[in-house]
Symmetry: C2
Subunit: 107 residues, 2 copies
DNA sequence: TCGTTGGTTCGACGACTCTCGAACCAAAGC
DNA sequence: GCTTTGGTTCGAGAGTCGTCGAACCAACGA
């Protein structure tokens, strides 16, 4: 399998993070990761094609928001909370709180 | 002059805000507004064409981040801090802090 | 009235994004 | 070996975005 490119903690950029979170689908994924912890790619209840889901997960990964590791045939995705909190303290929590406030029911 | 459309406080959406802040130029404008308060459009030290600056200011306004009022031939732009804090508490401060941390020198 | 100043709007261009089906691939199990 | 499973990658289509010059407009001052 490919190495799954992922930026270093200090290479995470604010516009990159904001761009990654400008899509509602990706915010939804972020919330799922924040509440459920490490998830397999297919575990998200998203009504989108596999290719599209893979695309969104790659955007999140390349923006430095998530970490992906291989586990057999599956990919386990997790939130890079420590790296994000270290680089942009409070930002992740503020975004998650804002998302929760905007759509409390979630999915 | 045209009315300068601007969303109501409760019509501000998170993806809208994130999308507006996914461009470094607009983050720069936001920081200038946060530190200097109300600014005339031309007061920003941006090396971009007038049309481009006008475009970015419109994106910020239509995302609900800024308020624009006419003053003679000028437009005075200000941050909608109260509305933003009411809708997404802590988000604006977290973004501003993140921007400051990423590029401390500012312009 | 006329020119200047400060901004907006109008195409237009290149670049990027989101979406998808189809093809592909690698690991696991039989 | 072969099939299934879980994801990725490719190519393409429609749409959006950032940028700009040129044109336009409204208010002010002389």
């Amino acid at each position: 399998m490919k190495p799954m490119t992922e930026p270093a903690a200090d290479a995470i950029t604010l516009p990159g993070v904001m761009a990654a979170l400008s899509d509602p689908v990706r915010v939804q994924i972020l919330r799922a990761l924040a509440t459920s912890g490490e998830c397999a790619c297919g575990a998200f209840e998203l009504e989108i094609a596999k290719a599209t889901r893979s695309h969104h997960l790659r955007v999140l990964r390349e923006a430095g928001l998530t970490h992906t590791r291989a586990d057999g045939t599956r990919r386990l995705v997790s939130l890079r909370r420590d790296d994000l909190d270290a680089r942009f303290p409070g930002l992740l929590d503020a975004v998650l709180a804002a998302a929760e406030r905007e759509t409390p029911v979630s999915v």
